[in-house]
């Protein structure tokens, strides 16, 4: 078996076990009330932690200027998502803004 397959299978199994972890344990062990209340914030916190660096960082450096097209188009997309709550509109308007700003600059 080639090295890439060892890597792929290892990560695949580890990722699967990570995803299974609490689901499987839940029968034997249930988290205390405070943890249950904390879980409500998982989607918002985890997803925001991913998209904010995608907007604001370039090659690991913080770029907060009008030259950062991803930041501007991202802010537009956030406003669209907030107003419409529609994924289709958010991704569509975000991508068109990105292309328009790239073309303008």
């Amino acid at each position: 078996m080639s090295e890439i397959w060892v890597v792929m299978l290892s990560i695949g199994i580890l990722t699967f076990l990570t995803r299974l972890s609490f689901i499987y344990m839940h029968e034997k062990w249930q988290p205390p009330d405070v943890v249950t209340r904390a879980l409500r914030f998982v989607p918002v916190a985890a997803l925001t932690a991913i998209f904010v660096p995608e907007m604001a960082l370039q090659n690991g450096e913080l770029v907060l200027s009008l030259e950062n097209i991803r930041l501007l188009a991202g802010i537009i997309a956030i406003l669209v998502a907030w107003r419409t709550k529609s994924a289709l509109w958010t991704i569509g308007v975000g991508m068109v803004s990105f292309w328009a700003l790239t073309w303008l600059m």
């Binding site: 998982v42 916190a45 932690a49």
Partner: protein, 222 residues
């Protein structure tokens, strides 16, 4: 069956953002020298976009296997949070169901399904919704990977299609912000992700998620 179709329907808009990512992955994987079948297999064996992108970079760098495995594992640790979040809703299901839903528990399927779990609607079959969303995403990821491999260099790199990653997560996160606590949670998570950007293995994402959850819990304590 109705819940299953609703799950597919709920996932569809997200696929608009996921398709370009799958294609970019396919392009990058083959240009990094992966065989066609290895590149395609990774999308179902690993089935986690961000770690697949990181793996391709490490293949390019010629990193040792153990480093690739550890990096991929750490990047995907956030899925443990999703697991904990979904667990109470699916505790009554059989082990087979739990295994299948765990395999399908990606960022995008989780985010769509958890909103459905938390809404008002009464249904005992919401696990079918998660299954539908998961299978829709899985199929899209495999097909778009294949398209990327097939099209190869014909996908122009300067279109900024990787920006759909940020847009997809904006589309998933922002509508879920519905009170002061969730707003503060998102704000603090975003700031932490930036402030801790120097951490290796994208550990800043884990740090940011934990800070965001803690802040949300704290502002919700009354």
């Amino acid at each position: 069956m109705q819940e299953f179709l609703l799950g597919i329907k709920g996932e569809l808009p997200i696929l608009l953002g996921v398709t370009p990512l799958g294609m970019i992955y396919g392009v990058l994987a083959t240009s990094a020298g992966l065989a066609v079948w290895d590149a395609q297999a990774m999308s179902s064996v690993v089935f986690a976009g961000s770690s697949q992108f990181m793996l391709i970079q490490l293949v390019n760098l010629g990193a040792p296997a153990i480093m690739m495995i550890l990096t991929g594992f750490v990047i995907n640790l956030r899925h443990a949070l999703y697991s904990a979040s979904v667990a109470p809703y699916i505790r009554h299901l059989s082990t087979l169901w739990k295994f299948i839903l765990s395999y399908l528990l990606t960022d995008e399927a989780y985010a769509v399904a958890i909103i459905h779990y938390q809404d008002e609607s009464e249904s005992k079959n919401k696990h079918w919704f998660l299954l539908g969303a998961g299978i829709a995403l899985w199929s899209c990821w495999q097909l778009s990977t294949a398209a990327g491999i097939f099209l190869g260099a014909q996908v122009p790199p300067n279109w900024g299609l990787d920006f759909t990653l940020a847009l997809t997560f904006i589309a998933l996160a922002v509508p879920a912000i519905n009170d002061k606590a969730s707003f503060l949670s998102a704000l603090s998570a975003g700031l932490t992700a930036i402030l801790t950007r120097g951490l290796p293995y994208k550990l800043n994402l884990i740090a940011a998620a934990l800070v965001g959850i803690t802040v949300g819990l704290w502002s919700d304590r009354r």
